[in-house]
Amino acid sequence: MKRSLLPWLVVATVLLLLFPMAAEKFYLQLVTKIMILAIFALSLDLLVGYTGLVSLGHAAYFGIAAYTYALASQAADPANVWLTLPLALAASAAAALLVGALVLRTSGVYFIMVTLAFAQMAYYFFHDTRIAGGSDGIYINTRPDAHLPGLDLADDLHFYYFVLALLAIVFALLAVVLRSPFGRALQGIKANEHRMRALGYATLHYKLAAFVLAGTIAGLAGYLAAAKEGFVNPEMMAWHQSGAVLMMLILGGMGTLFGAVLGAFSYVLLQEWFSTLTKHWQLLMGGFIVAAVLLLPHGLIGLHRLRIKSRAPRPEGDGD
C-alpha cells in the first residue's frame, strides 16, 4: 500500500464502521452486498492486477462455494459456519486447482476463453440438473450460525460487521501475501514471465497457487452472498457476472487493492443511480463503461495517482 493512500484507507474504514449508525436497513444490506462484491473483486485483482492472468470465468468459484453452502444447509436448523465455510472454500479451491492446472497451459486471449469455457460448464451443470433446483435456484432457509458469543448472523447489523471484518481480513491477507516473496514473484511473472523462469522460478506453480488462492477467496465472497440472500441461482455463475467483476476492477484501478474495493462501490452505486434516472439506464451504463475505458486508463484510483504525480513526481515504479 502506497503511503499516500493510507489516509484514504483509514477514512474508508472509519466510514464503514460508522455507516450502520446512520443507515436504514436497505442501505445496510446494500453496503453489505457491495463489501461482498469487494471481496470478490479483490480475489480477481490477485489474478488480473498482480499476476497478469485475465480470467473471464471467475464467477464459477463464487457460485460453486455458494451452491456448496446451499446444498450443505438444507436442514431447518442454521448451518454451522465453522463446518460449512471450510467445506465451501474447499469446494471452490478444488475446482480452481483442477481448472487452473488445465487452463494455465494456455495464455493471453486463449486463457481468457478457456476460463470462460470452464465457467460455462459449471453454469450449465447447475442450470440443467435437478440437484440444486435447476434454473429456478434453491433456498437456504436460515443464515449460518457462527456460534460466537454475541454474534447472531441472522441479524443484518451483525452480518454487516461480520462481512466488514472478513473484507478487512482479506485485504490485509492479500497485502501481506503481495509483500511476501511469493507475491513479489507473482508481480515479477506479470512483468516478465520469461525472466522469472530464467531466474529459476517454477512460474507455473506460482501461477497455479495464485489461481487457487483467488478461487478460494472468490468462494468466500460466494459463501457470504448465499448466506446474505438465502437463495442461490445459476445466474450467479453466468459469464456476464465474470464480466461485471472485471469491470469493477478496471473502474477502480487494477493492481491496487484499494482500487478493487473502490471499483466495487462505484460500480454498484453507479448502477443504482443510473437506474433511477431512466428506463433505458443500460444505455447510460454502457456509455459510462466506454467513457471510463477511454478516459480513465488507470481507473478511479489513477485519478489520485495522477494528482500525486503532478504534485511531486516520485521515482518509484507503479507497483504498490
Partner: protein
Amino acid sequence: MTDRRQFIQQAGLLAAAAATGSLMPSIARAQTAKLRVGMMLPYTGTYASLGTAITQGFNLAVEENGGMLGGRAIDFFTVDDESEPSKATDNANKLVQRDKVDLLVGTVHSGVVMAMVKVARDNGTLLIIPNAGANAATGGQCAPNIFRTSFSNWQPAHPMGKVMYERGHRKAVTLTWKYGAGEESIESFKEGFTKLGGSIVKEMYLPFPNVEFQPFITEIASLKPDAVFVFFAGGGAVKFTKDYAAAGLKDKIPLYGSGFLTDGTLEAQGASAQGLLTTLHYGDGIENAKNKLFRYNYGKKYGVQADVYAVQGYDAALLLHGGLNAVKGSFGDRKALYSAMEKVKIDSPRGPWTMSKAHNPIQDIYLRRVEGNANQVIGVAWKALEDPARGCKMSAA
C-alpha cells in the same frame, strides 16, 4: 427457528426505525394515506415487452377505478428487475425496505420470483405475482401473503394431455428448453396424457436459450409419433414453428403446445402457426362483456392489442381492489385482508375466476386455434382447473 428470526428482524426494524425517527410515519400511515405499490418487473432485456404489458394492464385497472384501488390512491415505486436472479433480492429489498411499499407486484422470470417469494416470506410483505409460473410459488413455498393472478406452469399444459388423447393421439414426443418452466410444463402434460393411456415416445430437451432445432426436427421425422407437444415462448417459439413448418412436418405430425407458443408472436410466425392448437387461460374472441370492454379500453389507451400478460397485470390490480374494498381500504389487519383476497371473485377479461387455497387462480383453460393473427378460442379444454399445489402446507387464512 423462524420465530426467533422474525423476532430479531422485527426488533432490528424497530431499532432502526427508532434510530432514524421513522417510527412515527409508519404507524401514522392510515387508510387515508396513499397505497404504496412496488412494481418489480423487467423493463429491459428479453422479457421487457412482458413487463410493459403487465404494468399497462395494472395501470388500466387503477384508472378505471378513478385512480384508486379499494378507495386508496396509489403511489407507484418501480424497479427494473432485468430478469436477473442474482440482483433479485436486493431489488425486492429496495422496494420493501427503502421505499416501504405496502405490497410487491412482480414478476416474469421464475428465478427472480423465487427470490421475491423469499423476501416476501421473510418480511411478511404482500406479494402478487402477475406472471411467473414456477409451481413452487403456490406449491412448496406457498404462504398466506403470496398470491398469483396468472397461472402455475402445471396449469396450461395439463389439459393438453386430455385434448390430444381425445383427438386420437396415443404416442407423443415432447420438446422444450432445459429450464424450470419448460420442465414443469412437460411434466404436467405428461401426467395428463399418460393418465389417460397415452405414451411418451421420447422427451427431448435442448439447452436454454439455444434455438438450433434442426437435429430434433430430424429426429421427430424419423420417430413418426402421432403428435408433438412443445413448450417454447418468444423468439424461440417463432423459430420453432417456422422450422417445423419448413421441414414439412406441420401437416404430417400435428404440433401442439402450451399457449405461450403462439402468444404475442403470431405476426412473426405467419403461416407457420396457422391452425395450431394450444391451451391457455386466455385467448382471442372470449365472448364476455368484460373482455370486450377491457380490450377496447386497453387498445384506446396504449395503441396496442391487449395480450395475456396485460390481463394478468389487470387482474393483479382487480384482486387488490376487491380485497381492499372488503376491508374498507385498511392495510392494518393483514389476516382480514388476505382472507378477503382469498374470497374475491375476479371478474376478469379471461372469464371469472376464484382463488385456490394455495392462492393460485382456479380458472378455465381454453383450447385455442390460430386463425390469422388471433388465438381464436374454440372451446374450454378444462373447466375451473385448480393447480394441485403439491407441497403446500398452508391452510385457509
